[in-house]
């Protein structure tokens, strides 16, 4: 031990006088290079299809050039005149010039859409002005306001000032139900427009509930899997894995067949007389449908990590606890359960993260009350075309999951995570 410490003090050399570290690096360089080349295809695949799109999304959530690119002159006026300046004739001239050129380039609707995100109902204002701007006569302030009196509204000018810069944090405000008033101060959106915070809360609560249900159902199954003799456990394992072999859509549709009011479960309940015909349970197109179907789909993700942790725990631990005087409950609680915590953590984290981002199942069986934040992200990408808001929502989701990882690392230790 003392020799080792002394050796580390001075630079070790090989027999022909080269520094040992350099010789080692040289000797290993070929193997390292080969290893790198082997993983290169996967690495580039991940970079192109995973890391790059995520970076794009992060960027898009704070960057939206739709207005600033198509309306450059008014943007210039906003930059040279500080916030609070009353729009003068020069401002209107710049605006009309932009409208004329954007109208000619057929991009005025794009710019209008950007303003419309912040101030609903203004899209048509822009498209109309885009058509008519070239006929306007100076002074433009009067003629534009004459075209539509909304052009004089301070609120619109406030919005235009904000969207004239391509980089903005406003999408994050929108994603948590906040907005700016005409003066740029942050305030909550009107109560009937508050959607996202509730949806985030619902998504997290629902995911937590699904995680807990999966744990309660999955723990005994995993225990059974790990303790049954090989013959039975492999059969049981096939049953656990069976859902993976069928399409997600098929499984979700199967739940639709089972859960609907004229479906299998309700029919059996009515047939056995447990409920009467007019009491058929509503189990689909609501929160319950989402919970049932998602629990079923995500259950294997809980069972497998639990199983992989339980399998190597020898029965002698519980036996030892019993022989030392512990009742079977104490032995379970004090000796068995603590050893399964890495599996509980891994399974819980996995199920929670998957359900937070789940899309297809809530879209199909969730109805209105079973929609999750991912469904709204999809809506903004495909329907409302507000990619920046979708990106902001997705980024918040990503951040909260990273926060969860961090918490897990603090509480349990990420190195203890065991996924199988």
């Amino acid at each position: 031990m003392a020799d080792l410490a002394a050796d580390q003090g001075e630079l070790l050399k090989t027999s022909d006088g080269r520094p040992l570290k350099e010789a080692l690096a040289q000797a290993q360089s070929k193997a390292k290079w080969r290893a790198f080349m082997l993983v290169l295809p996967l690495l580039s695949f991940i970079l192109i299809t995973f890391a790059w799109p995520i970076a794009q999304v992060l960027h898009q959530s704070v960057y939206n050039p739709r207005f600033s690119e198509n309306m450059p002159q008014i943007g210039e006026w906003f930059r040279t005149h500080p916030n609070g300046t009353e729009p003068d004739e020069a401002a209107y001239t710049a605006l009309v010039n932009d409208l004329v050129s954007a109208g000619a380039a057929r991009t005025v609707a794009v710019a209008g859409e950007r303003v419309n995100y912040e101030m609903p109902g203004t899209r048509s204002l822009f498209t109309k002005a885009g058509r008519d701007a070239k006929k306007l006569e100076p002074p433009f302030k009067d003629s534009l306001v004459a075209l539509d009196k909304d052009w004089g509204s301070p609120e619109l000018w406030g919005v235009m000032r904000r969207v004239s810069s391509a980089y903005t944090g406003d999408f994050y405000l929108a994603a948590i139900d906040l907005e700016r008033d005409a003066n740029g101060a942050i305030r909550q959106v009107p109560e009937n427009e508050r959607v996202y915070v509730n949806l985030f809360v619902r998504t997290f609560v629902l995911s937590a509930a699904i995680t807990v249900i999966c744990l309660i159902i999955g723990f005994p199954v995993a225990f059974l899997l790990s303790s049954l003799p090989m013959r039975y456990s492999s059969l049981l394992m096939i049953m656990v894995l069976l859902p993976f072999w069928t399409s997600l859509l098929v499984r979700t549709t199967a739940w639709m067949v089972l859960l609907q009011s004229q479906g299998v479960i309700n029919s059996i309940l009515v047939w056995t007389g447990i409920i009467s015909d007019d009491q058929r349970l509503v189990m689909i197109n609501n929160l319950m449908g989402s919970v049932i179907a998602m629990t079923h789909i995500l259950l294997p993700f809980m069972i497998l990590p639990l199983f992989s942790v339980m399998k190597p725990i020898p029965p002698s631990y519980v036996r030892a606890a019993r022989s030392l005087g512990a009742t079977s409950w104490t032995a379970f609680r004090r000796v068995y359960l603590p050893q399964t915590i890495p599996g509980i953590g891994a399974g819980g984290l996995l199920v929670f993260i998957l359900s937070v981002g789940y899309y297809i199942t809530p879209a199909l069986v969730g109805g209105a009350s079973g929609q999750l934040i991912s469904n709204l992200i999809a809506f903004h990408v495909t329907k409302s075309n507000n990619w920046s808001l979708a990106a902001a929502l997705a980024t918040i989701l990503l951040a909260s999951i990273l926060l969860l990882y961090w918490l897990y690392d603090k509480l349990v230790g990420i190195d203890k995570l065991k996924l199988g």
Partner: protein, 367 residues
Amino acid sequence: MVSSSPNDAFVAFEHVQKSYDGVQLVVKDLNLAIGKGEFLTMLGPSGSGKTTCLMMLAGFETATNGQIKLDGVNINEVPPHKRGIGMVFQNYALFPHMTVGENLAFPLEVRGMGKSERDAKVTRALDMVQMGAFANRRPAQLSGGQQQRIALARALVFDPGLVLMDEPLGALDKQLREHMQYEIKHLHETLGITVVYVTHDQGEALTMSDRVAVFNDGRIQQLASPSDLYERPDNSFVAQFIGENNKLPGVIESINGDSCTVRLATGEVINATPVNVSEKGAKTLVSIRPERVEFKPEMMPAGAHTIDAEVMEFIYMGDLFRTRLKVAGSDEFVIKSRNTLGQRMLRPGEKIKIGWAPQDARALDPM
């Protein structure tokens, strides 16, 4: 110390049978009485039923038939945690998420013992196995031998009257194993506890035990003290299983009380002691320990038959010489001689005559 009467036995198996599948008996009619303070070893090959017996005693397996009594009370229906039996497992089974101290405090804690009393007992138990400085370590930070000591201390910390050990030294290297054998033996002597020890290592069984029960095929083949077991095996299985052994198959030529002559397949006649053969003409397997075979004429016991042998191989083992001979058609006959001053080293090809005292050659069942 040794008690064989079931009435005052501390632990008693009475007609115990065990089957896992309802087709085969793993333990066939076991009767065994263990006295208080005795060190009894169950020795046997794997699958002989010894571990099953231990598990039944600990309460992890139920006897299919028969009774197991502890201190005169039938414990068949008593759950493991109420038996108050300490147990040391093969892989130690130290709880990995607890420190050494917490491991030792566990049995005291579940018994509702107060903190100060607990600490005192834990310290005492750790000192007993010379591990006092390790209370705050985790089991994973200890070497195999240290873990073994902790497991031992944990099984003893709640002062059980009976301690079961299931091949506790199996995972240790040879030197450490031998050291631990003496340590366990000394603990047993100082504490006066009863120990039931399971092993498949005959050396371990001979070194440590008051009595050894040799298991095979679900039955006790012989229950005897180590010296009896080694020197006077009851049957061929025990003779084979314990120590090295030379076998000479033959037929009883004459039998006279406690001595007999045996004619070997090749026609030679040797002296032997009949053990479980009774009549003339019966087939037998004569068993002789390698160290009891004599080849120097001046050392030969008076009146002993001698037999021709040819040296096949000579191995120098340090403290011993091991010589393989061809005797009566078989070249598996081994003799061992101590490396004393002037001891003769035999050369391969040398022709010698060997012999032995009749009581060292035991005519056993032919297997």
